[in-house]
């Protein structure tokens, strides 16, 4: 799973441009006989193996897309202006390596040198509109030979294993969830399992709604990478999650509230099996569960996440033990789900 995760993060798959990730997942499914299809919006839906002992239909979702940038204007002197795809803090952008478009043209994100910034500029948050991508083009004409407006821009950040069981990479949100679901597909389930690798989560949970309306599940489990602010000067009740303490279970965020039965079942499973877990202590943000929950005639949902420090940046960090424990928790809880729900 670790190697797959690292490889998944190397792929560029900004919202609306997830095909490389989708292709990788299809090619690397351990069981080639699994039925799968790609829907009209680009979601990859893989049907897991089932022994048919329960009539429950379970959707497990992780999003393939990642945050990044898009070229929206090329200046006379060949610099690329851009807008964001998904939520990005402009402060993390200065000095980043990026790759632009299909041909992955290398670039760096520039800003005027500190010597030229006035007091106000030095003391306030840099505005996106004052940043640009430098691909070392001489002028607009030269730049247009290499890139065009509408090109996606991905962070250029190779995965690195470091410290004790940690990985640094871009796009851990949510290739981590994708990697876990790929493992879940190696098992035989008592119910119909639909593994949904969704698109366009980062720009408004758009793929998940389409997938959920197609699959029409009874239960939706969303596997995410989530905020982890266990860093200096953050109060303990505001850290959201703590790295190394296990996967987090969300009771609520801005897009969904956990189904009580599912929440208690996962909680009890973790306690019973001695699997480390934590409650996510903040209720900010939202994810695919928001759209799955209100799809069709309504779906019971739960979100389980792996803590990711510096999320939505090229240097996200996660603890691989958290990821293993997430797989373990989700697997154990799902196998006993029919019993827990009386199905």
């Amino acid at each position: 799973m670790m190697q797959k995760l690292a490889e998944l993060t190397k792929l560029d798959g900004l919202s609306g441009n997830e095909q490389d990730v989708r292709k990788y997942i299809i090619q690397n499914l351990a069981d080639k006989s699994l039925e799968h299809y790609t829907d009209n919006i680009g979601n990859l839906i893989v049907k897991g193996k089932t022994d048919g002992s329960s009539n429950l239909k379970v959707m497990v979702a992780a999003h393939m897309d990642e945050v990044g940038l898009m070229v929206n204007y090329i200046t006379d002197d060949g610099k690329l202006k851009f807008s964001t795809v998904g939520g990005i803090d402009s402060r993390i952008l200065i000095g980043q390596h990026v790759r632009v478009g299909k041909d992955k043209i290398p670039g760096v994100i520039g800003y005027k040198s500190i010597h030229l910034q006035d007091k106000n500029e030095r003391e306030s948050v840099v505005k996106l509109k004052s940043l640009y991508i430098d691909i070392a083009a001489k002028d607009r004409e030269n730049a247009e030979e290499l890139v065009k407006t509408g090109d996606y821009v991905a962070f250029d950040s190779e995965p690195v294993f470091f410290g004790e069981n940690k990985i640094k990479a871009k796009a851990l949100d949510d290739r981590a969830g994708c990697a876990v679901i790929m493992e879940l597909l190696n098992e035989v389930w008592p119910f119909e399992l639909y593994a949904c690798f969704t698109v366009q989560e980062e720009i408004g949970l758009r793929g998940a709604l389409v997938a959920a309306n197609r699959v029409k599940p009874d239960v939706g489990i969303v596997l995410e990478g989530t905020t982890c602010a266990d860093v200096p000067k953050v109060k303990e009740h505001e850290v959201s999650t703590v790295m190394g303490k296990g996967p987090s279970i969300s009771f609520a965020d801005r897009a969904s509230i956990a189904d009580r039965e599912l929440l208690m079942h996962f909680f009890k499973t973790a306690e019973k099996e001695g699997i480390p877990y934590q409650w996510k202590t903040t209720t900010t943000g939202g994810n695919d569960a928001g759209k799955i929950q209100t799809s069709g005639a309504g779906v019971k949902t739960l979100v389980v996440s792996v803590p990711c420090r510096y999320i939505h940046s090229p240097v996200s960090v996660l603890d691989l033990n958290d990821l293993k424990n997430m797989l373990n928790l989700v697997s154990k809880a799902l196998h006993t789900l029919p019993e827990a729900l009386g199905r």
Binding site: H237, F251, T283, A297
Partner: protein, 331 residues
Amino acid sequence: MITLLRELTGAYGPSSREEEIRNTIERKISPNVDDIYTDALGNLIAVKKGSGNGKRIMLAAHMDEIGLVASYIDEKGFIRISNIGGINPYVAVGQRVQFHNGITGCVCYEENITDFKDLKLDRMYIDIGTQRREITLDCIMPGDIAVFCGEAIEQNGKFISKALDDRIGCAILIELIETLKDCPNEVVFVFTVQEEVGLRGAGPAAFSIKPDLAVAVDVTGTGDTPECKPLALQLGKGPAVMIKDNRTISHPMVKNALIECARKNNIPYQLEVMSVGGNDAGTIHTAAGGIPAGAVSIPCRYLHRPCEMVDKNDALNAVKLLNAFVMSPMA
């Protein structure tokens, strides 16, 4: 109505934890409906069959109330909180709140806040009188939700209580269920979940019911208190027929039928035009290929506070108005 209201507002039921209020309502209405069931999200759906070839009308009132969710329990046993639904920190300060199991706490704030502009829920907490994390965890776990305390009373022709938003709507539908006889249309009464967190229950309910038209019954703000923002709604001037709010523009067919019913039956009514807020009609009218929808709103002062106030006659007139509406033959 006060006896019913006291029971309804006293039932615990923040968004996503509606079991108790749902059971309370189910007990009351099941003898008087033809079919009753709870869907995946917890919406309580009760059907009164029509006597002819009428339409299927969905009436929705939400069961859930706002609350404070326990997000973290610190070493000393204090409970850190986040909001479930719209809770103003200024309103929450100093309130007595209660969890599902009866555990009661006070909502307090970090004492080093000197300017109330800095008052945010993440600098506030609930104190249930324990000294250690372990003791708090014996009765409260993260994810548990506390609601305001504030028993229902009737005084000077007004009802005052916590959770009148929208237990007054639930009470109106319950009264209607009891009085409705020989209706030409099929009426599907839906007591919805999770309205306060984004109208999440009503859409899926409408998707499965696929009514011909729908009316949400909820509360709305007023413009009749000292130095308040101008708003053409007052307590005691009748239920309001919604023209628009921030989530819905009422379907003309529904809106006009409601107004006509009020006029014909000499029921006082007001017109509601809001630029903020929304009710269940917001997710109903875009569900299942589109459903003509509107709302009957009960003017309510002090929304989302433990002392919400509505006029008794507005509520009784809403029952009359909805009765006339569902009894009318729909073309």
